[in-house]
């Protein structure tokens, strides 16, 4: 059984090809101005990596904010269900999933079989999403990829007062002007993000183990701050941004089998 999942996120499109629980190929493309081109590009590179053609895929399930744009998909799944499915597949002991993407944050509590019990979503405010770290990294004139390592070097935790990304930008500028080290500023950014994601997680109720997925799961600085906020270690998959696409591909397999 070969299936595919396509996750059309706000920032990137991720595609994943799955055969009986084994990932054969993955591909991603920036959503940019042309969503259709990004979908094609991500899907084609996943197919290429799997050495397969489109016709060999038995079922394709789309998810993500732009899931309707995947015209060739046979079915759809919500991001929340896809995340839960993927988390339990990757870590059978997972009961809570935190998904921090570019423009959304989600906290999901699920059953052992990956069914969703409860969830909360923030899609209204950039302060609880990857965009927040990205904006602050830009203000600090560091690369987003460097943010994590830099944050881990900080020896002090300084408070950040602003919650709003727009206000935090001004605050970061004044911290730079008052001579605070970049690593301490980015650490403060991670701490305040972790504080908000932690609060959202507590709203749905935290049940261990807790899995972190989404692109921000690549940020080691955020992972440290969030595990300190929650008081225990988090499970993070190797490619956290592909969780949605994986969940969709798993759903595709169930649906293809079901008839």
């Amino acid at each position: 059984m070969i299936t595919a999942g396509i996750d059309c996120g706000a920032r990137t499109v991720k595609a994943l090809v799955l055969q009986d629980g084994t990932v054969l190929g993955k591909g991603a493309a920036l959503t940019g101005f042309d969503q259709q081109a990004a979908i094609t590009q991500a899907f084609q590179s996943a197919l290429q990596q799997a050495s397969l053609g489109h016709s060999q895929i038995q079922h394709i399930t789309a998810t993500g904010i732009g899931h309707n744009a995947v015209s060739f998909a046979q079915s759809q799944i919500t991001e929340v269900s896809a995340d839960a499915k993927a988390a339990v597949f990757l870590f059978p002991t997972a009961r809570t999933v935190l998904d921090v993407g570019a423009e959304e944050g989600r906290a999901i509590r699920c059953e052992a079989d990956g069914r969703v019990k409860d969830f909360a979503v923030n899609e209204k405010c950039a302060a609880g999403a990857g965009t927040f770290i990205e904006t602050m990294a830009r203000t600090l004139e560091i690369k987003l990829e460097e943010a994590g390592a830099l944050s881990l070097k900080a020896t002090k935790v300084i408070p950040m007062n602003a919650q709003c990304a727009v206000f935090a930008e001004s605050e970061v500028v004044s911290l730079i002007h008052s001579g605070v080290a970049k690593e301490e500023i980015i650490r403060a950014v991670h701490e305040s993000m972790a504080d908000r994601i932690g609060a959202m997680a507590r709203r749905v109720g935290i049940e261990r183990e807790v899995v972190l997925v989404g692109g921000v799961g690549r940020d080691q600085g955020f992972i440290r701050s969030l595990s300190e906020e929650l008081g225990f270690a988090l499970l993070v998959p190797e490619d956290p941004e592909y969780a949605g696409a994986l969940g969709a591909a798993l759903m595709a397999a169930e649906r293809a089998q079901g008839g």
């Binding site: 101005f33 423009e103 209204k124 405010c125 950039a126 302060a127 965009t131 927040f132 904006t135 919650q163 709003c164 990304a165 727009v166 206000f167 001004s170 004044s174 002007h177 008052s178």
Partner: protein
């Protein structure tokens, strides 16, 4: 009447940058004044200083807030004093207010900006004002007050840039429309477009860019943004309840695009300011300063 005291000449045009100014009433002679009181409002984005002679508006200034409150307060006071020839030591009492109020050594006392705005609005708009909407640089407050300008209730948003002056600056910069022209430009549309759907200013930026890509003219985009901002503000007002008369203070009170839409959505008129509504906070502080000084003298 207003004069720029510090106009920056940046390399790249800064569309968000509004003109700093100071003003004095030429007809008033401070030498005859019994009490010269000062209010300084150090906000998160702008700072104002107001000088009163026996409770009459004599001079004021409005500048951009710098990186520290003591300096910003001093600069605002210096700018207000500039045209007056009043020596610094002739000032009897200074009250500080605003975001930076607790850290202003030159002030005798600090009073919250909520109290000061209500008091200032009472002075600017008269004793019939019962609801004041203060739209500042980094917050938005809905204040209910009595005929003396005393606060009876208030609600505020200081967590989120949506509905604040800073949010408007970000949009002016993105659309490359000078901030003072945003209001009139947003009204130059034949039909009101649907409001921008994102609450968050960061997300609204992406949304606005995609509207521009769809070929929307800038005026229409500004109308959509102002409409969303007005709607959000009205929601805050409705939560506390609007009792007439209604007035708007703060920097955004000067943006006709927001004022018109708030009035339209509320279905009531806003009082027209006789004095610059952006100085309401500092003005209220200066009125408190006068009262505090007189109380001290009696003791």
């Amino acid at each position: 009447m207003a004069e720029a005291v510090a106009t920056a000449t940046p390399q790249k045009r800064e569309y968000w940058r509004w003109t700093e100014y100071n003003w004095r009433d030429e007809s008033l002679d401070w030498r005859g004044a019994r009490v010269i009181s000062v209010g300084i409002d150090v906000g998160s984005v702008s700072s104002q200083a107001v000088i009163l002679c026996d409770g009459k508006l004599f001079a004021y200034s409005s500048l951009r807030t710098g990186s520290n409150s003591p300096t910003s307060a001093q600069r605002a006071l210096d700018a207000a004093l500039e045209k007056t020839e009043v020596p610094r030591e002739k000032i009897h009492y200074i009250v500080a207010t605003g975001y930076g109020r607790v850290n202003i050594p030159i002030a005798h006392k600090a009073i919250t900006e909520i109290a000061c705005h209500a008091r200032g609005a009472n002075f600017i708009y008269g004793p019939t004002v019962r609801t004041v909407l203060d739209m500042g640089g980094q917050d938005c407050k809905a204040i209910r007050c009595d005929e003396k300008g005393k606060v009876t209730n208030f609600l505020m948003n200081d967590k989120c840039a949506a509905g604040t002056g800073r949010g408007m600056e970000v949009m002016a910069d993105l659309l490359q429309v000078p901030i003072e022209e945003v209001g009139p430009a947003s009204l130059a549309v034949d039909e009101e477009p649907p409001p921008v759907s994102s609450t968050c200013v960061v997300f609204a930026k992406s949304e606005v860019l995609s509207l521009l890509r769809l070929g929307w003219p800038r005026e229409r985009v500004l109308a959509a943004f102002c409409s969303a901002m007005a709607h959000r503000t009205v929601e805050l007002l409705m939560r506390i309840g609007v009792e007439r008369e209604f007035a708007i203070t703060g920097g955004i009170a000067k943006n006709v695009g927001i004022v018109q839409r708030v009035k339209r959505e509320l279905g009531i008129e806003a009082l027209k300011p006789k004095i610059d509504p952006q100085i309401a906070g500092a003005l209220g502080a200066a009125l408190f300063a006068k009262a505090l000084y007189e109380k001290e003298q009696k003791q």
